[in-house]
């Protein structure tokens, strides 16, 4: 089998994804639709939290995707920095706005959940706080991409920012934990059964997580394709002007 890196070739990437993208998009729509409808219409209320548990079906997947998007940007930035595959840099650029929207969704749903549960929309809980910081990282990263005109320069600088930023994001997480012990739920998706939520909530939640994941992949593919086209468009226009 040829090396995995062949998919970093723009042409090959466009060919592969033109087949892959529709499949992923349809799968994403189906899974997400199933998960959300199941979660919203066909799950019982929690004895303690009442109907608000229904928020979990969007809150948790969005929160997970927000983190995963950053991780993906970190990996693709490293790939660009080391091997200089353009598709990699453009994929990082494509993923950032998705990650930002996911962060926003997690924040919004969390805030709306917080009002009935904790009596306030916002509290400086460590997990909430680190999401706010993540949002700032996303904003800075996107703003840097937008501010620089030359595409390779922008790719280089944003990848450096992403790498340094990741280290500091991790540091912030520890700092914030040190600073305040919070109200927020611990991880309940862990394997030890005592902590786990009941199956009635658990299965639709898993489906929703899969749906958000697929949606994320579909969006990244679509946006990366657009970025590649935009890059080519820019090059062609420049050359036309020179001729």
């Amino acid at each position: 089998m040829a090396s995995l890196w062949q998919y970093a070739n723009p042409k090959k990437f466009m060919q592969t994804t033109s087949v892959l993208l529709p499949v992923v998009a349809v799968l994403a729509a189906l899974t997400l639709g199933t998960g959300l409808i199941w979660g919203f219409f066909f799950t019982p209320d929690d004895y303690k939290q009442g109907a608000t548990v229904k928020i979990i079906y969007i809150h948790v997947p969005a929160a997970l995707m927000a983190i995963n998007a950053w991780l993906m940007m970190l990996v693709t930035s490293l790939v660009w920095f080391v091997r200089r595959h353009h598709v990699s840099a453009l994929a990082a650029r494509a993923a950032a706005p998705i990650g930002m929207v996911m962060t926003l969704i997690a924040l919004f749903t969390g805030a709306l959940w917080g009002q009935p549960m904790w009596g306030t929309y916002w509290a400086w809980d460590p997990r909430l706080t680190s999401f706010l910081i993540l949002l700032l990282f996303y904003l800075g990263y996107i703003a840097l991409w937008e501010a620089i005109e030359s595409p390779d320069t922008a790719a280089d600088l944003t990848s450096v920012l992403c790498m340094v930023g990741s280290v500091f994001a991790l540091l912030s997480r520890y700092a914030v934990n040190f600073w305040n012990q919070g109200l927020h739920q611990g991880a309940s998706l862990s394997m030890d059964a005592e902590e786990n939520v009941a199956d009635v909530f658990y299965i639709p939640l898993l489906i929703c997580i899969a749906g958000f994941g697929l949606l994320f992949v579909a969006l990244v593919l679509a946006r990366t394709r657009t970025e590649i086209r935009a890059r080519r468009l820019q090059a062609l226009i420049a050359r036309e002007r020179m001729a």
């Binding site: 042409k11 353009h86 595409p151 820019q234 090059a235 420049a238």
Partner: protein, 202 residues
């Protein structure tokens, strides 16, 4: 210094390609060419400020003293302080020679912000003398200079060449000394075909 088959780009677009020339010690080469052809781009590539797309330069950037459109002067430092700073950065000593060569003795204690356009330029050129580097790469050095100052500049270049140095000068006007001339317009990069998708990512 020999340059072989050099290609350089500005803003992601190749502007010059296949640039070949040689400068022997003790000689100068004048680059000419219409506005926007890529002289500045070429000189920046030689100075090591941007990577070449292709080709080779025999001289390392460490042997090159580069003087650009901007002079790198600090407005609040005096003429002597500006020069002394660059001398220390380049590890040379003694700025008197440079001051004398460009007739800056009287202005030595004047702050750079209180110089006229031509006086600033003279100071920028005097910096070359304190770098102690053998290859001068100059981008339109005589902008704003009057005839007397152009003559000073010519004398400085001749002295540098006589000491075995080299000079590569992009200019539109007459510098008052004879040197080989290279018109860079013949290295103009051909518009690429871009048939393959990859090429947009060169």
């Amino acid at each position: 210094m020999t340059v072989t088959d050099l290609a350089c780009a500005r803003g992601g677009m190749p502007v010059l390609e296949g640039v070949c020339f040689a400068v022997r010690p003790g000689t100068a080469l004048l680059l000419r060419g219409p506005n926007g052809i890529g002289k500045t781009t070429l000189l920046r590539t030689l100075a090591g400020l941007q990577p070449a797309l292709a080709g080779a330069v025999s001289a390392p950037p460490e042997s090159i003293a580069y003087a650009a459109h901007a002079d790198g002067l600090k407005a609040v430092l005096s003429v002597a302080e500006n020069l002394r700073f660059w001398a220390r950065i380049f590890g040379t000593s003694g700025i008197e020679g440079a001051l004398a060569a460009f007739d800056l003795g009287d202005l030595a204690d004047r702050q750079a912000q209180n110089l006229s356009a031509g006086q600033k330029r003279r100071l920028g050129l005097a910096r070359l003398l304190v770098t102690g580097r053998p290859i001068w790469v100059l981008d339109e050095p005589t902008v704003s200079l009057d005839a007397a100052s152009v003559a000073l500049f010519g004398a400085a270049v001749r002295a540098h060449l006589a000491a075995g140095g080299m000079a590569l000068i992009a200019t539109h006007i007459d510098l008052g000394f004879t040197a080989e001339v290279l018109d860079v317009s013949r290295f103009r990069a051909a518009p690429q075909r871009l048939d393959d998708f990859d090429e947009a990512f060169a």
